[in-house]
């Protein structure tokens, strides 16, 4: 699976971008990454590392939050996309699922899904067919289709948000923190569905996630972000075996409990990551 993802073309290319909010706050200090076609790429890191900002820089949702890309470039299939509006990007096949679900509360679940097809021009029949496709991935949504999205559970809202993105017939989904606020079992379920969408529909994912453990089990490749910089990247399997990642992100250590003497070297490594 990993090799298949590697040999295929690169869809999204982010080169050394800097993002500044409100003209003063420097959030990203040169982030580069690439998303291959057909892969699941994970973007890992703690709070405030810049994961969400990276995704929003790509989907161009930054503008409405007074953020802007001041340096570097973002290319999708070789075309420079950082000056487009979000709608133009959705039409090119890149759609973001925002952190915290962001369903349209007063619309029903089904209406939420249909808004995902807003930019499509291929007719009612095709949209109906895709609605069934989404329901086949999320049978739960079919049961809840007539309820107002605001009254559904967190898991159902996350499913609605992913389903809504799927309705735009995307090539790449930028998925921000799908595990947020969900029970571990549900997180597992959502990731399973992401994986099957990736395999069956050929949709590529760029996935921002704090839950390193789950993300690295499902992703093919991973980038680790800290304070606005990529500090490490590699195939997901390698990252999982990396002692630093294990220690800092997975909460495991080969050495077991540390003695006080090791603290100095611990600090040194910590500084390297920071």
């Amino acid at each position: 699976m990993l090799d298949a993802a590697k040999t295929q073309e690169t869809l999204l290319e982010v080169n050394n971008i800097e993002v500044i909010y409100n003209h003063v706050i420097l959030v990203l200090k040169g982030v580069s990454l690439s998303v291959p076609k057909g892969g699941i790429t994970a973007l890992l890191g703690g709070n405030g590392a810049g994961k969400t900002t990276t995704l929003k820089a790509i989907s161009n949702l930054l503008h409405s939050e007074r953020g802007e890309v001041t340096k570097g470039s973002i290319n999708y299939k070789g075309e420079r996309v950082q000056d487009l509006d979000p709608a133009a990007l959705v039409k090119r096949g890149v759609i973001q699922v925002m952190e915290g679900r962001h369903c349209f509360e007063h619309l029903t679940v089904e209406e939420n899904l249909l808004t995902g097809a807003y930019t499509r021009k291929d007719g009612k029949g095709a949209v109906e067919a895709d609605l069934e496709m989404v329901y086949s991935y999320f049978p739960r949504l079919k049961e809840r289709r007539k309820s107002q999205a605001g009254y559904t559970s967190g898991g159902e809202q996350q499913m609605t948000a992913v389903g809504r993105a799927l309705m735009s017939r995307p090539e790449t989904i930028l998925l921000d923190e799908p595990s947020m606020g969900l029970a571990p079992q549900l997180v597992e379920q959502i990731f399973e569905i992401v994986k099957s969408i990736n395999e069956n529909e050929g949709v590529s994912f760029l996935l921002a996630e704090q839950n390193t453990n789950v993300a690295l089990r499902f992703a093919h490749y991973g980038y680790i972000l800290e304070s606005g910089r990529v500090v490490m990247d590699g195939p997901a399997d390698d990252l999982r075996e990396n002692p630093d990642v294990k220690e800092f992100y997975l909460g495991m250590s080969d050495e077991g409990r540390k003695s006080f003497r090791d603290v100095r070297s611990y600090r040194r490594r910590k500084r390297w990551l920071a």
Partner: protein, 317 residues
């Protein structure tokens, strides 16, 4: 005194049901126009958080344009189409010149901007069409005059044909709007934008398109109310006032609720007529219609700050 407040009006209503019906009918006619205008407010507010102070002057401007074009010798129906075109151009211009540069500014700034639009339209309308009162071209538009007299319970009920036309057209327009909002892609987009701006952007809904659309809808509504009201009261800048009658409707119905705007409009229209006839004229010397709606809205606000039908704030616990 207590008798006059609490007993006599109701006795009157029961004793002369035909007259009560007449009062309610007249209330319904103005009520449906209030509802229509309130809908215009609600659509703009929901999709852009702008309280559109210019709605009133848009009514005047639409009516003036229609009458003005006719005075230039254009056939009546062509005038209507041309006026619709003018309202569309106005919507595009407002989006381009006013809203787009102000995106992301605090709500109060956008509100001030609509006051600016109001003042501009007053001046602009006067320069082009002149400030004197005009007569609505109702006959040329084929709006029937005359009346039908019914005799319920042996009484008398006079229905002006003009009023019947207004009720029918306004009802159709409201129904068409509801269908548009609920069953079309664009309508869903308008409602979605009201719920969550960012999410709407993320699925590729274009703010600009939606804004032009809601302002154009507000323009259509302005034209219809302008014709309806102009046919009774003549076309003058005083027409602006009826749009402000939509304010208590909004307080009552809630700024975000489409159903609230409709029910609130009908309620205000009928209640203010009832109050005027049965309480206002005998007890307060009449002319209560100018303030009754506002007082009613205030009382409602004391007990339900989100309005009677204010969109329920959905909160999961």
């Amino acid at each position: 005194m207590l008798n006059e407040i609490f007993i006599k009006p109701f006795v009157d209503m029961v004793e002369a049901p035909d007259f009560l019906l007449q009062v309610l009918w007249e209330g319904l006619v103005s009520g449906i126009l209030y509802a229509l205008i309130a809908l215009g407010f609600v659509l703009i507010f929901r999709s852009s958080r702008i309280f559109n102070f210019a709605q009133g002057i848009m009514v005047v401007f639409a009516a003036l344009t229609l009458v003005g074009l006719y005075a230039m010798g254009v056939p009546a129906w062509i005038c209507v189409l041309l006026t619709l075109g003018v309202m569309f151009v106005l919507a595009v211009a407002i989006e381009r010149v006013v809203l787009r540069p102000l995106v992301g500014q605090p709500d109060i700034i956008l509100f001030m901007a609509t006051i600016g639009i109001t003042l501009f339209l007053i001046g602009f309308g006067e320069i082009i069409f002149g400030g004197e009162n005009k007569v609505m071209i109702s006959e040329e538009l084929g709006i029937p005059t005359g009346d039908t007299v019914l005799e319920p319970w042996g009484g008398l009920l006079i229905l002006q044909h003009l009023d019947i036309t207004v009720v029918v057209v306004a009802t159709l327009l409201v129904l068409a709007l509801l269908a548009f909002l609920n069953y079309t892609q664009m309508g869903r987009a308008i409602r979605a934008l009201g719920d969550d701006h960012q999410a709407a952007l993320s699925v590729g809904i274009s703010l600009q398109t939606v804004w032009v659309l809601v302002w154009f809808i507000a323009g259509i509504i302005a034209l219809v109310t302008g014709i309806a009201w102009g046919a009774r009261a003549g076309v003058s800048f005083a027409l602006e006032v009826i749009a402000y009658k939509a304010l208590p409707v909004l307080m009552l119905g809630g700024l975000e609720s489409i159903t609230g705007a409709i029910i609130g409009g009908l309620m205000i229209g009928m209640l203010e007529k009832l109050f005027e006839i049965y309480w206002g004229q005998p007890l307060l010397g009449g002319n209560t219609e100018t303030w009754f709606a506002f007082v009613l809205a205030l009382v409602v606000l004391l007990f339900r700050p989100q309005g009677l039908f204010g969109e329920k704030i959905i909160e999961r616990v």
